[in-house]
């Protein structure tokens, strides 16, 4: 239990979500449900079955004309950012 809690906390941190201890039991329950589902999927024999990317095997033809038609304001763009400096989103340095 604590092991799973630690793992979920770590995952939450990595994906930049704040998870409180109150929310943890619900998350663990959902996680278990999800993993059960995955287990079930894993039990299905997919030998010789081609992967399916789209439910309908249709081809489309639409291409968008190259026109600028939508820009959002800088204020809106930066609204959700936790930390901003010089109109840019500030993040911890991770050099790839």
């Amino acid at each position: 239990m604590t092991e799973m809690k630690t793992m979920l906390k770590q995952l939450a941190r990595d994906t930049m979500f704040d998870i409180s201890d109150d929310e943890m039991p619900a998350l663990i329950e959902e996680y278990n449900m999800f993993m059960n589902h995955v287990q079930f999927l894993e039990s299905i024999d997919t030998q010789d079955v081609e992967p399916l990317a789209f439910p309908y095997e249709v081809e489309t033809t639409f291409l968008r004309e190259d026109e600028v038609s939508h820009i959002i304001s800088r204020e809106d763009a930066l609204k959700n950012a936790k930390s901003i400096q010089d109109y840019q989103i500030k993040v911890p340095k991770v050099v790839k």
Binding site: D14, P51, A53, F54, V58, E59, T60, T61, F62, L63, R64, E65, D66, E67, V68, S69, H70, I71, I72, R74, A77, L78, Q85, D86, Y87, Q88, I89, K90, V91, P92, K93, V94, V95, K96
Partner: protein, 477 residues
Amino acid sequence: MNFEQIIGLEVHCELKTNSKMFSASPVTFGKEPNTMINEIDMAMPGILPVLNKRAVEYAIRVCYALHMDIDELLRFDRKNYYYSDLPKGFQITQEQFPIGKNGYLDIVVDGKTKRIEIERLHMEEDTAKQFHYDSYSLIDYNRSGIPLIEIVTKPAIRSGAEASAYLEKLRQVFLYTDVSDAKMEEGSMRCDINISIRPLGSQKFGTRTEIKNLNSISHVQQAIEFESLRQEKIILDGGKVLQETRRFDEKRKETVAMRIKENVANYKYYPEPNILPIRLNHQWVMDIKERLPIMAEQREKIYIDKYGLSQSEAHRLISYKELSDFYEETVKNCSRYKIACHLLLGEVLGYLNKKNISLEETKLTPHYLSEIIEYIDEEMISSKQAKEVLECVMTEGKKPQCIIEEKGMKQISDVDILTQLIDQILDNNEKSIRDFSSGKDRAIGFLVGQVMKETKGQANPKITNQLLLKLLKERVQ
């Protein structure tokens, strides 16, 4: 032991479309951060990508220029990785079905032509730009979603010189197909190098390293030279080259390890579910081929065959797309093909380099250039004066005719006026006549100088020389 370099290049090129690959926000460079974006570029929830038609057209143009097979059924994949420059957590790319396959580009190194085989060309989107500081990074999303094409060669390149020739040629393809400004210093053309070495004659490939994000062609060549020597030393010392990603340190001119690649990075590619396969209209694809602009090589041939330029003049001219375009416009109304070429490659290019600007930033127009050439032709101005006029036009943008009048530049070609003047000068310079008769040629130079001084440089040099010789001979006899 002699080693052979095995090099493959991956080149990214930003397309100069109006809008982004999958969103209707603008493609720009150097604008205020985070002002050229929308929800799609920032990966806000609920967004859907819609492919840009012109980006596809540009990709197809380059495919044709590189003699590739074109897949008319477009399919996209997700390349998953987590990094702050990639807001969605995946990049939309074409891993499995690139739009172009099996192409080539012929390069010339040391006078020999070599065909560089190209494996693939695919479309994808650019990432956000990050600025790294000591303890944090800042993100500007303006670049996020700009259309990119990536072109990957087979491991067919064998030296830094070949790599550099290939990149020059590829850059020319981007410029002449008119799909990108291909500025390596601004990042609209970027290059990664894959390099390994092996004993000459061996068929087995050695372990390769990847050098990322080179931003000039000369750096590519330097990086290859350094890296192959580094690998050679390791092997000769009995060591093993590690499969790693390196970067090029521009100051120290060496490659530096960034990270070890233990396995091939697992990008968990899978088909992009938000874009159904798109079947291109076959006729539209054919039309793009029909309308393909004239490529550099064809222009070079025309310059030599039709305009009578030398091989090296033609080659130099096409290597500056901007000058070549300008030349094309100029010779529409001017049949002095050689003079036009000389002025562009000489005075104009010299001026641009001196001021470090582009031709577009000057006020010269093809019309003004042909006007100046006309005046030279009619011997209204000397070629020395032409240079002055040209510089004035480039800086001030006045009509050449106005400049000539303002500066009182008109060349004096009137034989009577010049004869009278030369006679006067000869009267005052008896010594020079004696010098001339005793075979001292520099007397002529001195006398021409006197004529120029008297006319403030406006005497037609050709006529002055002829007249002076004639009159001198008459006096000596």
